[in-house]
C-alpha cells in the first residue's frame, strides 16, 4: 500500500470513541455503543454484521490494539483482556452464535493475565519468558498475512484491471483431433454395460450372431435410397450358401422389427423390398 489511501472499509471506525481511549462495546451504524443498553432492542443483525467485520479473535485483538495506538510488543494485557471480554459478553448476551475460537482466545487471555501477576524469576530461560510472547508472535504473524491479503487485493487482476484480448478466429480453420480409442476400451465398456443390464433388467443380451447383425445393416444400406429393391438384389450368391442364409435371416429379422416390408404384386411375381414408412 503506497497510497495513504482510505482506511480499511471492513474495520469499523468509531468516530468519537478513539479520543478518550474508551473502546465501544460495538459499533452500530457507525455510532459507538459504549454501554449495554438495557431498554433498547438491538437488532441482532447489526451485531452480526459487526462480528463479521472481524476475521476471528486475532483480528479483533489487532483492532483493539491498533485503535488505541498500543505497541503490539508491549500489550497492556489487563486492559485488552477486559475489552475483549466485553465484546464476548455482549455477543453472548445477544445470543449471537459465537465461533468457538473467540472463547478459546478469551481463555488464553485470562491465562496470560494471571501469569503476568506471578513474579517472574530473573532468568533468560525460554520457559520463563514473557507470558505474552506467544500471543505477540501470533498477532504479528497474522498481521503480516492480513497485510499480504490486502496487497494481493490491490494487484491488477483479470476482469477488473486487465482484459485479455480475444480476436475472432473463423472456426473453419480449427480442426479438432478426435481422441484415439483402443478396441479393448470398447469391449470393456460393453462388458460393464452388460453387467449393469444383468443387474437391472431381467432380459439378457443373448448371444448374438454378429454376422447376422452386420448383414442387417448391409441390407438396410441397400434399400436406403428409398423405393423398391428387388429381393434378389439383396443376395450375393458368390458368398455361398452360408452367406445367402445370413442375408435371408437378416431380411426376416428386419421385417419382424417392422423396418422392412416385402411386397409381391401377385403370386410368383418378383418380390420387392422397401423401407417401411420410408418417405424418401
Amino acid at each position: 500500500m503506497t497510497a495513504p489511501g482510505p482506511p480499511q472499509p471492513e474495520t469499523p471506525q468509531p468516530a468519537a470513541a478513539a479520543d478518550d481511549g474508551a473502546v465501544p462495546l460495538a459499533i452500530i451504524r457507525g455510532a459507538p455503543l459504549l454501554k449495554l443498553p438495557e431498554d433498547l432492542y438491538i437488532p441482532p443483525d447489526a451485531l452480526e454484521i459487526f462480528l463479521d467485520a472481524f476475521e476471528g479473535p486475532l483480528d479483533l485483538l489487532l483492532y483493539l490494539i491498533r485503535k488505541q495506538n498500543l505497541d503490539i510488543l508491549d500489550i497492556p494485557i489487563n486492559q485488552i483482556t477486559t475489552q475483549y471480554m466485553e465484546y464476548v459478553e455482549l455477543m453472548k448476551e445477544l445470543r449471537l452464535e459465537l465461533a468457538a475460537e473467540y472463547l478459546v482466545m478469551a481463555a488464553m487471555l485470562c491465562e496470560i493475565k494471571s501469569r503476568m501477576l506471578l513474579p517472574r524469576p530473573e532468568t533468560t530461560d525460554e520457559e520463563h519468558a514473557d507470558p505474552r510472547a506467544e500471543l505477540v508472535r501470533r498477532l504479528m504473524e497474522y498481521e503480516r498475512y492480513k497485510q499480504a491479503a490486502q496487497d494481493l487485493d490491490t494487484l491488477p487482476r483479470e476482469g477488473r484491471d486487465n482484459f485479455p484480448v480475444s480476436a475472432e478466429l473463423s472456426s473453419e480453420h480449427i480442426r479438432r483431433i478426435p481422441p484415439t480409442v483402443e478396441l479393448g476400451e470398447i469391449l470393456a465398456a460393453l462388458r460393464d454395460v452388460m453387467r449393469r443390464a444383468d443387474l437391472f433388467t431381467s432380459h439378457r443380451v443373448a448371444r448374438e450372431s454378429l454376422s447376422l447383425r452386420e448383414r442387417m445393416s448391409r441390407v438396410l444400406e441397400l434399400v436406403q435410397r428409398g423405393g423398391f429393391v428387388p429381393f434378389a438384389a439383396l443376395f450375393d450368391v458368390t458368398e455361398g450358401r452360408a452367406g445367402v442364409v445370413v442375408s435371408f435371416l437378416a431380411v426376416l429379422e428386419l421385417v419382424k422389427a417392422a423396418t422392412l416390408e416385402l411386397v409381391q404384386s401377385e403370386s410368383y411375381a418378383p418380390i420387392h423390398v422397401r423401407l417401411r414408412g420410408g418417405e424418401a
Binding site: G5, P9, D161, G184, A189, R191, V205, E208, E221
Partner: protein, 226 residues
Amino acid sequence: MSEEQAQSDTGEAATDGAEVTPLNALSLATPPVQQVVEGALMAAGGPLTLDQILGLYPEDRRPPREEIRAAIDALTADYADRGIELVEVAGGWRIQVRRAVAPWVARLWEEKPARYSRALLETLALIAYRQPITRGEIEDIRGVTVSTQIVKTLTEREWVRVVGHRDVPGRPALYATTRRFLDYFGLRSLNDLPPLAELRDPAFFDEQLRAAGEARPDDTDHGDPR
C-alpha cells in the same frame, strides 16, 4: 461501499454515486479515442456497434460519432500489415485474425484431445454388437439416456450412421457401424469382434491387455512433441 477507492492508487473518492463506473479512474486524463476504441474492440470478444462504443463514455464526455468512425478507419489502416484485421460485420466492427495467418493460429487448438466418455464408448459398443439399433433400445440396455452429443460425435467421426428408421411411432433412427469403424479398429468384419460370451470371462481382458501391450509397446506415452 468504498471498494473501488481501495484498489485505486489515486485514492480519489467517488463524488457522485450515480455512475456505475470506477469514476475515480475515469476522472484521470482521458486516453485518446483511438486507444479506447481499440481496447474495446479487442476485449469485447465479438462485434461492437458505433453506439456501443459511444456508450463507453459518460454522456458529458462523449466524442462525436465521426471521431469514433475516424478511429475505426485509422485502425483498419494500421492493421494492414498485421496479424489481425478489422472488419465490419452485421453486428458492427470486429477484430479478427488475418485470413492468411488463420491456418497457423488454428493449430493452437489442435492440442491433444480429451478422451471419450464412458457413455460414448458404451453407446458405440452397443451399436456395434446390436446393430441396427435405435437410441431408445440403447437407452433401455444402458439404463440411462443417450445424449444427442454422443450420437453426433459418433456420426461425425463416421463410425456410426443411420441406416433406416423403425416403423413405429416417432420413426426412430436405426444406427449401425460403418466401414470406417471396421478400418479404424483393424477389423475385416464385425465377426472379428469377440463374442459376448468371451467378454464375461475375466481372463479375457487380461489377455487382451497383454496382447495390446506387446503389439504397441511404446504407444502409451507419446507426449506432445511441443
